[in-house]
Amino acid sequence: MKIVQTLSVVEKAVFLLQTDIFKSLATDEVALIAVKSSENEFEAGELVEKGSEAGRSFHVVIEGAVEVSKNGTVFRRATKGMFFGLLPLLEIHGDEEVRAVEPTHTVVLSCENFKQAVADNPQFALTMIRSVATMALNFALRVEELEKAEAGR
């Protein structure tokens, strides 16, 4: 992993405003989050986070892609504009690992700054709840789909 600085605060804010999780926030609120963020770069195949050893950071993918897997099964892929690392921040630890599948560039928010952003901005907190709910719903739908496929076999 490399810590880089390729974007200015406003450039980061402009990028974040185009993503689903930040688009409902006001521009200056996103800038206040962006100023506390940093940037990471990962090479293809590099391990980003692993289970309880997770770095406890919130990432939004600027470029590239990562895959979240457990026991070799990939259950989520995050590409440009998508986030990962939310569940460990909420102290929900699994054995999943996050690995970059191509050269990946992310905006990173440390645990402390993420919690501060949630405390200062109810709209951001609401967006996070919505994101977790959407993730849970997608997982449930996927499980249902797989169960149907299994039953039909």
């Binding site: 200015s8 605060v9 402009v14 405003l17 521009t27 206040l32 100023v35």
Partner: protein, 534 residues
């Protein structure tokens, strides 16, 4: 006059109606209202002639009397109509008051009381937390057992709850009750200070008497204690003491999210004694915005005319927009709870006119920015301007609500912001019947405009100065007191490589604001890179 003016004016009144309604209304007015009016007038003249002789002077007096009755009737009807429009809006928009669910609704007190007997520390602490807000009497009833609990965290929490409920926590009596406490004097105090429970006791007793600098410093230390029960008891003690010297320390702790609720409660205990100081904190540019937001909540809790004046000072257009938004919301809440609270009408109407000008300016600017060459940049700046216009519109309604009926005006705001055409029309109707004509003439044409194009045109007419151009907008961003607009101006210069602005960008390089400073540095790099490329 009757044919040329009155008849024509009557015809104009029918214009907004649909053909079907117009036909029915005209028929009814021509056949029933006009003829009945003529008949009543004839009868009145006959009665006048019969009873008084019917001289011109007598006729004039009667007509003047009737005109006065007509005028009063019109005034009452307009007010009643405005009220009806607003209450109808209120019904349609719905009551946006937060519906709080109390712990009592979802928890069983008996179950929680049972948990107090548990030897498991986590269970007892949980029960104490729930019972504190649900039924503190239960905690009081079980206090003797809880204060001898083997866990010092349980003892500390119990003491803190008792102290927060206003119970006298006598430090030395408590010491005597502690198991194995045969110490006395200085030795006892040292042992006491080793546990959180004891520090809570010290913090609680400090609330009654703070009469030396040592005690004051001790309490300030306890406000920063590692244990939350000690901290919150210390906050309350500071609030109970009502000493002004604690206020800066309390305000400082408002910046910590987990502490805010307890610190606010402590500041509210000061009552009106510190509302002036709170107003000064709102004015101070060094106070963080998150702290200012908390201060507005404290002022709402304190309420009353003095708190309203402190907030009103923070609603000036020169203040940071976020502070103005919070202060206006807080003022609306205070007035909503207590309509007797008054705001200087002339000053507020002056600010309202300026706010309308600012709103119209943002609308016109948003349109001028669309012509920018870089579509991504244009989209971003448009979004910034749209946000500012939306916030400005909210402030317009909130300022109107300070002068006119608070709840009715806020219902009109929600109606105007809804997607429902009927609600929007009712909101405009309410403003039309409530606002004085000079303000109405400024804002209503903009709000009523059926299309975006027309809205920009109407907004341009309202502006006191020339409509802003793209470069004019950039200038305004750089000159703004709002740091985020300065930042956006610097970003535009960097993106568009406006080398003529180099000197202006350099003036922002040493700004106190980290975002401005960073963006200015970035913009300078962009300008240098562009010059090197040439």
């Amino acid at each position: 006059l009757r044919v040329s003016l009155t008849k024509t004016s009557w015809e104009f009144l029918y214009f907004p109606m649909t053909d079907q309604v117009k036909r029915k209304a005209k028929r009814f007015i021509d056949v029933v209202v006009n003829r009945s009016g003529d008949a009543v007038a004839g009868v009145l003249i006959l009665i006048l002639n019969f009873l008084l002789g019917g001289s011109l002077a007598q006729l004039t007096v009667v007509i003047l009397g009737l005109a006065l009755v007509w005028f009063l009737l019109e005034l009452t009807t307009t007010q009643a109509y405005a009220k009806e429009v607003s209450s109808s809006l209120g019904r349609l928009v719905g009551d946006r008051e937060e519906k709080r669910i109390s712990l009592q609704d979802i928890t069983d007190a008996t179950e929680m009381t049972g948990l107090l007997e548990s030897s498991n520390q986590a269970q007892v602490l949980y029960a104490l937390d729930v019972l504190e807000s649900m039924d503190p009497e239960v905690v009081r009833a079980h206090s003797s057992g809880l204060l001898e609990h083997p866990s010092q965290a349980v003892r500390a929490r119990t003491l803190a709850i008792l102290a927060l409920q206003g119970e006298d926590i006598e430090l030395y009596e408590f010491k005597a009750e502690l198991p194995g406490s045969d110490l006395s004097g200085e030795d006892a105090v040292k042992v006491y200070e080793e546990t959180a429970a004891d520090r809570v006791a010290i913090a609680a007793s400090a609330g009654r008497v703070v009469d030396s600098e040592d005690q004051e410093e001790r309490l300030i230390d306890l406000m920063g204690d590692e244990d939350q029960d000690v901290r919150r008891t210390a906050y309350r003690s500071a609030g109970l003491s009502r000493r002004r010297s604690f206020v800066p320390h309390l305000v400082n702790r408002l910046s910590i999210p987990e502490e805010r609720a307890r610190v606010r409660d402590a500041l509210v205990l000061y009552g009106e004694r510190t509302v002036g100081m709170m107003g000064d904190y709102l004015q101070d540019p060094e106070t963080p915005i998150s702290v200012k937001t908390q201060i507005t909540t404290v002022l709402v809790e304190v309420g009353g005319q003095h708190a309203a004046y402190s907030l009103f000072r923070a609603t000036s257009l020169e203040m940071d927009r976020r502070v103005v938004n919070e202060a206006l919301r807080a003022l609306n809440r205070i007035q909503g709870d207590n309509p007797a609270v008054r705001i200087p009408r002339e000053l507020m109407l002056r600010d309202l006119r300026q706010e309308i000008d600012r709103y119209c300016r943002r609308i016109v600017q948003e349109r001028s920015v669309r012509s920018a060459a870089d579509p991504n940049l244009a989209t971003f700046i448009q979004r910034v301007l749209n946000e500012r216009a939306e916030q400005s519109l909210e402030r317009i309604f909130r300022r109107v609500a300070l002068v006119y009926d608070t709840n009715q005006t806020l219902a009109a705001y929600r109606g105007y912001r809804s997607d429902n055409a009927r609600l929007r029309a009712q909101a405009i109707e309410y403003l039309d019947t409530s606002l004085p004509s000079d303000i109405k003439n400024l804002i209503l044409p903009v709000l009523e405009a059926p299309s975006e194009e027309e809205q920009v045109q109407k907004a341009s007419l309202v502006l006191a100065s020339d409509p802003p151009t793209l470069m004019g907008t950039l200038e305004e961003f750089l000159e703004s007191r709002e740091s985020w607009l300065n930042t956006c101006g610097l970003y535009v210069i960097g993106c568009r490589k406006f080398k003529d602005y180099r000197a202006r960008v350099e003036t922002f390089s040493n700004s106190q604001d980290p975002i401005i400073r960073e963006t200015a540095g970035w913009a300078l790099k962009q300008l240098e890179a562009s010059e090197e490329a040439k």
